[in-house]
Amino acid sequence: MFKKILIANRGEIAVRIIRTCREMGIETVAVYSEADELALHVKCADEAVCIGPAMPRESYLNFDRIIQAAKETGAEAIHPGYGFLSENDQFALRCEKEGIAFIGPPSGVIQSLGDKTEARRIMQNTDVPVIPGMDKPAENFAEISRYAETIGYPVIIKAAAGGGGKGMRIVHAPDQLESLFVSAVSEAQTAFGNGAVYLEKYLAKPRHVEIQILADKHGNVIHLGERECSIQRRHQKIIEESPSKAVTPELREQMGQAAVNAARASGYQNAGTVEFLLDEGQFYFLEVNTRLQVEHPVTEMIAGIDLVREQIKIASGMPLSYSQKDIQPRGHAIECRIYAEDPENNFMPSPGTILYLKEPAGPGIRVDSGIYSGFSVPTLYDPILSKLIVYAEDRPAAIEKMMRALAEYAILGIKTQIPFLLDVIRSERFFHGDTWTRLIDDEFSPWKQDSGDAVLAAIAYAAYRSSSRRRGMRVTGGGEEDRFQSPWETLGSWML
């Protein structure tokens, strides 16, 4: 087993990894940019190395500085977390060459699964369903028309050269196809100077469902069930849960087997996630994430397994601690990602200093956090602050627990989307598990906080003001400032 691990990341995920290392008796090395000198992950680690200026490419993405930090501190392994270098095959390769264990899959696997078309080909070869679509642009309308009949309506026309919705048309019936084809080609021509289009099956209300896998270096591969991550804003997940209300035991078995087959076919090692879209009971391969996911805690909660511990054991050459039949998930877990952003202003980032922080507590509540009271949230990195995870015996109880926990989560000084998350969690849609990837866009945009307890807030303000000690300017009229005496002042001459 490793004696010392360097964590090439920051924020909540670095703190989370450090905690498991400590429990395993492994020493930890944090790395940090000049903007993160006082970040929580630096304070939690046994030692820390500054790896450069605030800009990510000069610090958290800087191969040389990170490798040098590992060598100087004698770290035998590097955990990349998520984001930054976690899916960079060149960095994994560099670690391999330097004789440092990269806690993740081999560089060759990261490379082949990172190439989306190659990943799609690997999946097709192992009979994992992919979204039906043309492999190359259509030659003419007749080809489009034939193909649409083959895969069935609705279909979506997409520009081969572009993105951003340009040259994209959703076609629900054959009689619309020709006119929409013509306008898509013309729009693509204008936007990209290339009118080539192709056809894909259109999934109207897909759910995002993914399978967690673990694979060791001895050929053992297991899956740990699914996570549903349909609640997204700007194509980024914000609420995740396990199990999914849409996945039956039979479907779980099918999807799990597909993910295990995909892992075997690609020579996978360590923890990974196979992502699918699920539409009307049919699942389609999306991509493989060759790293620990942000939302991994929901799986940990229901499976009763520490995924980071497993990652470290696998990287050190140990076989999996569990076989497939040992995996017996129970209960229900939900995660809310807490971001420094303004839900009333299109989720724009809201950096600044956290002036007050109080985290929720109680049975079944877990907070994976990278912040503290007084911490200034840097402007250069992902605005994730923490993750709130709840665990309960079933889904309705988990929803109630999440509502309770969010209502206890006070973060002041910057804006967060906690009030927005509360509205989503207590909506009818979410309660019934009626979720799809565009739910936020379709039904929660734009969003404004309701007036809620504004009256109570006003009373709280008045009481707070009148209880302020020596606030100078704020003395209430006539000099009758109400002064609050703390219990310590009225206690008398007690011995403490």
Binding site: P53, A54, M55, A340, E341, M348, P349, S350, P351, G352, L355, Y356, K358, T379, L380, Y381, D382, P383, M403, L406, A407, E408, Y409, A410, I411, L412, G413, K415, I418, P419, L422, Q449, S451, G452, D453, A454, V455, L456, A457, A458, I459, A460, Y461, A462, A463, Y464, R465, S466, S467, M473, R474, T476, G477, D482, R483, F484, Q485, S486
Partner: protein, 175 residues
């Protein structure tokens, strides 16, 4: 004691009559009366009993407002008395939009103009990044770049004028 507050941009006027102990009283808001007892737990925590119901409020003073967290929602409270004491901001609405300053703490990614350049209204001047999102500040009017107060890679705060533009003399309308 009369209060005139703005709570999340909603105006609220009410009266508080202090009771016998310093931190109890009655608040009269519209036609409703709320009896309250408050105990200050710390600088940021207030334990309230309002009409017999317990409530924990968390508060911070943040510049010109007080932020209050109650039951999962944050309320931004501005006190009219404080606003009256502050010097009024000069200039009408729209003036602020004419200043080339970041809307939030950000990092300068690219500067697209040089001092002395003639610029057109809405011409991009500077690209900023805040938390992985890029945004572009544009010139508010036709003019000349007088001064650039930032460099690429620099962290900048709201209020700092990044690019100073000397406005070109008004042209005849109708173009």
């Amino acid at each position: 004691m009369e209060y005139s507050l703005s709570v999340n941009r909603e105006n609220m006027k009410f009266t508080v009559v202090s009771g016998s102990s310093p931190l109890s009283g009655e608040a009269r808001i519209s036609d409703d009366t709320y009896g309250f007892i408050a105990r200050r737990i710390s600088d940021n925590e207030l334990f309230l009993t309002i009409n017999g119901r317990h409530l924990l409020a968390y508060l911070v003073d943040n510049g010109d407002r007080t932020e209050i967290f109650l039951n999962g929602r944050t309320y931004s409270v501005k006190d009219q008395r404080d606003a009256d004491r502050r010097p009024k901001r000069r200039g009408g609405p729209g003036e602020q939009e004419q200043k080339i300053t970041p809307p939030m703490p950000a990092v300068v990614i690219r500067i697209l103009v040089s001092e002395g350049d003639a610029v057109k209204k809405r011409q991009p001047l500077i690209v900023l990044s805040a938390m992985k999102m890029e945004s572009t500040l544009v010139s508010p009017y036709d003019g000349t770049v007088k001064k650039i107060n930032a460099s690429e890679g620099q962290q900048v705060m709201p209020g700092l004028i990044l690019v100073e533009i000397e406005k070109a003399p008004e042209e005849e309308h109708g173009n």
